[in-house]
C-alpha cells in the first residue's frame, strides 16, 4: 500500500510545526511565570539599589511589563524577521552570543556522537560474539561500573589524575590564550571532555547492541541458517546484525539530543565555552531571550531527530506502521 509522499511528509511537517509551537509557548510561559527577576541579569548587583520607579522604567524598556501573550506575539513577530532580541546578560545580540560558542559544542558533541556509536557497535558485537566468555563478562562488568559513575564525577577524577597530578592535559577551556587557530592545541583540550562524553554513553548503547544481538540469536531463523551449514560469522553478520541495524540507526537518530545534552554538564565542569554552559547560565539568571533561543534549538533538535528516527524506521522496515512511533523508552536514560 503506497501512500502519497506529499501527504506523508506533509503530515510529518505538520506534527513538527505543532510540536515546535507548543514547545515555544510552554518555554515562554514557564520562564516568565517562574519566580526570579530578569533585571538581575541585565543590571547585575545594581538592581538592588534601584528605586521602584527606576525598575519600572527598566522593565518598560525591556518590554517586560506587558501581558505575557503580548510579549509572546511580539517575540514571534521579531523572530520571524530573524531578530531574537538581545541577551540581558551579555548585552549582545542573542545570535552573536550563541554563534561564537556553538561551534565548540558541535565539535565536542559531533565527534563524541560518532565515536560513541562506532565504539558501541564494535563492543556490542564483540560481547555478543563471545557471549558468556570471560571477555564478555569483563566488558559487561566494566560497562556497568562506568555507567554508574556520574558524568561530573568522572570529569573531576580525570582532571584530578591527568591535569592536576600528572600535568599531561589541560583541565579547562577550548584552547590556550593566543592559540586560537592551533589545531593541535584544540585537540589536546578536547581529549578529556571527549573521553567523558564517549564513556558516558558508550556502554549503554554497546549493551543495547549486545542484548538485541543475543535476542536475535535465539530466533528460529538462526537454527535454519545453522542447519543449512552457514558459519557463525555468516549468521551473525549477514543475518543477525542486519536485522538489528534498522533499530540501531533509528536509536542513533533519537539519541542525538541525549549525546549532545550530555555535553552540557561536561562543558560546565571543564569550563568549555559551548552552548551547554551558556544555557544553564541563562536559565539561572533569567536571561529570557537567550534561554528561549537555546531551548528552542534543543527542542527543535529533539523533535527533528525523533521524526528522522521514525522515518528511517519506516523506510527500512515497512512492517512498522506509518502512524506507529519509534520505541523511545530504550533511550530514556541520559
Amino acid at each position: 500500500m503506497r501512500k502519497n509522499p506529499f501527504a506523508y511528509y506533509g503530515k510529518k511537517l505538520l506534527v513538527f510545526l505543532v510540536s515546535v509551537f507548543i514547545l515555544s509557548v510552554a518555554v515562554f510561559y514557564i520562564s516568565r511565570l517562574a519566580p526570579g527577576d530578569p533585571l538581575m541579569s541585565y543590571y547585575g548587583e545594581r538592581t538592588e539599589k534601584m528605586s521602584v520607579a527606576e525598575k519600572n522604567a527598566a522593565r518598560e524598556k525591556l518590554g517586560l511589563n506587558d501581558p505575557i501573550h503580548i510579549q509572546y506575539i511580539r517575540w514571534v513577530e521579531n523572530a520571524a524577521k530573524g531578530d531574537f532580541g538581545i541577551s540581558f546578560q551579555y548585552k549582545q545580540d542573542v545570535m552573536e552570543v550563541i554563534g561564537s560558542r556553538i561551534g565548540n559544542t558541535l565539535l565536542l558533541g559531533g565527534i563524541g556522537f560518532v565515536l560513541t556509536f562506532a565504539g558501541a557497535l564494535l563492543l556490542g558485537v564483540l560481547c555478543a560474539w563471545f557471549e558468556d566468555k570471560w571477555i564478555d563478562k569483563i566488558l559487561c562488568k566494566v560497562g556497568t561500573l562506568l555507567s554508574c559513575i556520574p558524568e561530573f564525577w568522572l570529569s573531576l577524577m580525570l582532571i584530578l589524575v591527568f591535569a592536576v597530578t600528572l600535568h599531561w592535559l589541560p583541565s579547562s577551556g577550548a584552547y590556550d590564550v593566543g592559540h586560537q587557530n592551533d589545531t593541535l592545541n584544540r585537540i589536546v583540550h578536547l581529549i578529556l571532555p571527549m573521553t567523558v562524553v564517549v564513556l558516558q554513553h558508550l556502554w549503554y548503547y554497546a549493551y543495547m547492541i549486545r542484548n538485541k544481538l543475543l535476542e536475535e540469536t535465539r530466533a528460529d531463523y538462526v537454527l535454519l541458517g545453522k542447519s543449512k551449514g552457514l558459519s557463525k560469522k555468516e549468521i551473525m553478520f549477514k543475518h543477525c546484525l542486519r536485522n538489528i541495524l534498522p533499530s540501531y540507526i533509528s536509536i542513533m537518530a533519537i539519541s542525538v539530543p541525549h549525546v549532545v545534552g550530555g555535553t552540557y554538564i561536561v562543558e560546565t565542569v571543564f569550563s568549555y565555552p559551548g552552548i551547554g554552559a551558556l544555557s544553564y547560565e541563562s536559565a539561572r539568571f533569567h536571561d529570557y531571550n537567550l534561554l528561549m533561543v537555546l531551548c528552542m534549538m534543543t527542542g527543535v533538535l529533539v523533535i527533528l531527530c525523533n521524526l528522522i528516527g521514525g522515518i528511517i524506521n519506516e523506510k527500512i522496515d515497512p512492517r512498522i506502521k506509518a502512524n506507529e512511533v519509534v520505541e523511545t523508552s530504550e533511550v530514556s536514560k541520559v
Partner: protein, 295 residues
C-alpha cells in the same frame, strides 16, 4: 567400524532424557550489592551513632586536612569533617532518591493506567506526550526546571526530579494495562461498579508490579545521581544542607588546592551506592526472562 556406526538413524534422534534441571531460585542473586546497600543505608539512617564530629561545624583551624586518625576522611575547605558528613549527607541523598521515585512512580501508575484504559485517541495523545517527554534529556529538564525555580530544598528537589522521570515507567504500565484491561476479571469488576482506583489496586497493580520493579530501582539510582549532579553544579542543595552532591560542589576549590579526598570520598560512596542499585535492578530484570541461545 561397528554396526552401530554404519547404520545410524537419520532424522530421528536417539532418545535422550532431558537433563535434570536444578531449581536454583536465588541464582545470580546480588548478595554483595544488597549487603553493601543495606550497610550504607543503615549507617546513613543511624548517622548520629557513627558520626565523630558535628558535620555542620566549621572547624576553621582544621581546614583542608588530609585523612588522619582524627578526621578519618579529612576535612573540606570549610573545615567540616568529611567522615561525619558522608553519613549525615548520605541520609539526604538516599531520602531524595526514594522520595523522588515515590513521586514519579505514583504519577507513572496513574498516568499509565489512565492511558491504558482510555479510548484509542486519548491513549495515542497521551503516549505522544510521553514520547516527546522522553526524548528530552532528563537531566537537562531537571536542570532547567530547578534553575527557573531558584533555590532548592530537599522537597522541591525531589518533586522536580520526580515529575521529570515518570515517563518510561508510565509507558510500560500502559502496555501491561492494555493487555489485561479486557480480561474477564477486569470487566467483571467494572460491571460490579468497581471504581478506577479499586481496579487499579486490586487487578491492574498486582499484574504490572513485577515488570516495573526494575525501572523503579533504576529510578532511585537516577534520582540520586541527578541530585548529586545538580548540587554539584550549584543548582541543587545549597552548601549548608549536607548531601553527597553538595559536598562535591566544593570540588573546584579542592582541585585548586589538590585536596583529592574531598572529591574521591563522597564520589566513591556515591558510585558504590549507584552500583549496588544497578546490580539489584539488573537482577530483577534478568530474573524475568532468560532463554538459551540457538547459536
Amino acid at each position: 567400524m561397528t554396526e552401530q556406526e554404519l547404520f545410524t538413524l537419520v532424522g530421528i534422534r536417539a532418545e535422550q532424557s532431558a537433563p535434570a534441571k536444578k531449581v536454583r531460585r536465588m541464582q545470580g542473586f546480588p548478595w554483595i550489592s544488597v549487603i553493601l546497600l543495606g550497610i550504607i543505608v543503615l549507617c546513613c539512617f543511624f548517622a548520629e551513632v557513627i558520626m565523630t564530629k558535628d558535620p555542620g561545624y566549621l572547624d576553621l583551624k582544621n581546614y583542608n586536612v588530609a585523612p588522619n586518625s582524627e578526621f578519618l576522611f579529612g576535612t573540606d575547605t570549610l573545615g567540616r569533617d568529611i567522615f561525619s558528613g558522608i553519613w549525615y549527607g548520605g541520609r539526604i541523598s538516599v531520602t531524595i532518591g526514594f522520595l523522588a521515585t515515590l513521586i514519579s512512580t505514583f504519577i507513572a501508575v496513574v498516568y499509565g493506567s489512565i492511558s491504558g484504559i482510555a479510548p484509542v485517541w486519548l491513549d495515542t495523545l497521551m503516549m505522544r506526550f510521553t514520547e516527546i517527554f522522553l526524548s528530552v534529556p532528563g537531566l537537562l529538564l531537571v536542570l532547567f526546571l530547578q534553575a527557573i525555580l531558584g533555590q532548592a530544598n530537599v522537597v522541591t528537589l525531589s518533586i522536580v526530579i520526580g515529575v521529570t522521570s515518570w515517563a518510561s515507567i508510565a509507558k510500560i504500565i500502559r502496555t501491561e494495562v492494555r493487555q489485561i484491561r479486557n480480561s474477564e476479571y477486569v470487566v467483571a469488576s467494572r460491571c460490579m461498579g468497581g471504581k478506577f482506583f479499586h481496579i487499579l489496586r486490586k487487578h491492574l497493580g498486582p499484574n504490572f508490579i513485577a515488570s516495573i520493579m526494575f525501572m523503579v530501582v533504576m529510578n532511585v539510582r537516577g534520582a540520586i545521581a541527578s541530585e548529586s549532579t545538580l548540587s554539584f553544579m550549584g543548582m541543587g542543595l545549597p552548601l549548608e544542607i549536607i548531601s553527597w552532591g553538595s559536598m562535591l560542589s566544593l570540588a573546584e576549590k579542592a582541585l585548586l588546592s589538590g585536596c583529592w579526598w574531598m572529591i574521591l570520598v563522597p564520589g566513591a560512596f556515591l558510585v558504590t551506592l549507584l552500583m549496588c542499585l544497578t546490580n539489584i535492578g539488573n537482577y530483577l530484570r534478568k530474573n524475568a526472562n532468560r532463554k538459551e541461545s540457538n547459536l
